[in-house]
């Protein structure tokens, strides 16, 4: 279901993960690089991406990691999830990173490298370019 958790308007390139993300312990809070060898985005940087992933998992302290990468200018410019979890929701709220959820079908259609724009004031939240 489409929900707007944190509003905003951005344009950028998709970085997609089919794995959920545990921000505490998986993401380096200085560099914004995924440091977990077992994650599909291992060694990828989240910086300036539109990060698309199913949901966050793990400790709620992970919200501080999202706040940290934003403070260090290594955060995604927006996040899109299938399911809203409190860690990512509060993390994006702290850091003022736009966050929406979308349905399964739309989630499937989005691929890494696509250029999209996200506008929470528009009826179509996502525009594909």
């Amino acid at each position: 279901m489409n929900k707007i958790l944190v509003s905003g308007k951005v344009e950028g390139i998709v970085l997609k993960s089919n794995d959920p993300i545990n921000f505490l312990g998986t993401v380096d809070k200085k560099t914004g690089i995924i440091s977990d060898k077992n994650h599909t985005l291992f060694e990828k940087s989240l910086k300036n991406s539109i990060l698309v992933f199913p949901s966050g998992i793990g400790s709620s302290v992970g919200a501080y990691t999202i706040y940290s990468i934003k403070s260090n200018n290594t955060a995604p410019i927006a996040m899109i999830c299938k399911k809203a979890d409190l860690t990512v929701a509060t993390g994006c709220a702290l850091a003022n990173i736009p966050l929406i959820t979308i349905g399964d079908k739309e989630f499937e259609s989005i691929k890494t490298g696509m250029k999209i724009s996200l506008d929470t004031d528009s009826t179509n939240l996502i525009h594909y370019q």
Binding site: L5, S59, S71, C92
Partner: protein, 384 residues
């Protein structure tokens, strides 16, 4: 979510950046939990205090927002990492101590009562029935909903802080009428606090937002706290309803087999190098009972006893603390077994405890072995 005009304006930033961020947190939380509006709360209890859990990012965040954020309702605070009165007896580095004190200072600057306790329901007066509160500490949220006739969600550190600043909280899940997804029938005879902790842990795994629970006899405060602590550790469920529930609700037994499964999951050692009591922290009744049980006896190994500072002060006046120290107890206020930096796997192989909550975090966070025993067994086996 439906916001009032004033709430909308705050969310747009017309009341400053801090209010805007606090509203962003409540709106994001509310949308994630299907709340339709915000409602006033009278008391917030915050987690996210121990430097061991929130780290540098948390310390920096709190330091930044404390410059202008102020709480607008009664706000109390979870334990931190150590007791300043005896921190020099433990191997904590200067960095840990200074970062922890910075966190304490930030919360005090924001107007939070520095209670450093995970049992606010035992050391503060309980407001009238049905009062909306916002408790982030899991055992306290469950206790408030189940025993104190208060209403709270199992808040996150952030939603509780934002609620404290705004004085409102999302109207979702347990604030409304809830339907338990399952009824657990307690089948264990002669349960002690360890049994109730395991029952709570089991309930937290299978419960959705709340569970029915039947077959409980009379319980003392220690047992109630153990059950709430156990449940808060294993899931997101945050309320016990006492009774069978209606006939449509699925029924399941908590029997010897289920209890053994929980025991096998958390009990990893035959014996402990030291003992901890308190997770949740001990209240005055428990301290009184412990003092009586230790009359004429002494621990044969280290025993750490965790309690709120206010309880320590009361216990000191009555003379309990002198007695407990005579029996070999290390008395620690402002902190707790749960996520303590004072127990390190370099020095300790295993810890004996009667707390399921403590056991879970000792095993998974401190990385030490755990030996589960009831308080009665601890006194029998570990004192002379």
């Amino acid at each position: 979510m439906e916001l009032t005009r004033e709430e909308e304006s705050a969310l747009k930033g017309e009341q400053g950046e801090t209010m805007q961020m606090a509203y962003r947190i409540l709106v994001a939380t509310g949308e994630a939990t299907d709340a339709e509006k915000l409602i006033p709360i009278e008391w917030a209890h915050l987690s996210g205090v121990n430097y061991n859990t929130i780290g540098d990012a948390g310390e920096e965040f709190l330091s930044t927002i404390s410059k202008d954020a102020r709480v607008t309702v009664k706000t109390t605070l979870n334990p931190m990492g150590f007791d300043i009165d005896n921190v020099s007896n433990y191997k904590l580095d200067e960095n840990f101590i200074s970062k922890q004190l910075s966190i304490r200072n930030s919360y005090e600057t924001m107007g939070v009562i520095p209670s450093f306790s995970c049992i606010p329901y035992e050391i503060f007066d309980i407001p009238k029935n049905g009062t909306q509160v916002a408790f982030a500490e899991s055992n306290a949220a469950i206790h408030a909903n189940s025993y104190d006739n208060l209403k709270t969600n199992k808040e996150s550190a952030f939603s509780a802080l934002a609620s404290a600043i705004i004085g409102k909280s999302p109207y979702s899940s347990l604030r409304k009428e809830d339907t338990p997804n399952i009824t657990i029938q307690m089948k264990i005879k002669n349960p002690n606090e360890l049994t109730y902790g395991m029952l709570g842990f089991y309930a937290g795994k299978i419960g959705d937002t709340s569970v029915n629970i039947s077959g409980l006899g009379e319980m003392d405060q220690r047992q109630c706290k153990a059950m709430c602590g156990g449940m808060g550790t294993s899931g997101t469920c945050a309320k016990f309803n006492f009774g069978e529930g209606d006939s449509n609700t699925e029924k399941i037994d908590f029997d010897e087999k289920e209890m053994q499964n929980v025991h096998d999951e958390l009990n990893t050692s035959e014996k402990g190098d030291l003992i901890t009591l308190g997770s949740p922290q001990l209240g005055l009744d428990e301290i009184s009972d412990l003092t009586a049980k230790l009359k004429g006896r002494s621990f044969q190994k280290r025993c750490m006893v965790f309690l709120p500072r206010t309880v320590k002060e009361q216990a000191q006046k009555i003379g309990y603390i002198t007695e407990l120290e005579r029996a070999g107890c290390e008395i620690l206020s402002d902190c707790c077994t749960c996520l303590t930096p004072l127990i390190c796997k370099d020095d300790v192989d295993a810890v004996t405890t009667n707390s399921i909550k403590g056991a879970f975090y000792l095993k998974n966070s401190n990385g030490v072995g755990v030996n589960l025993k009831s308080l009665t067994e601890i006194i029998e086996d570990e004192t002379r």
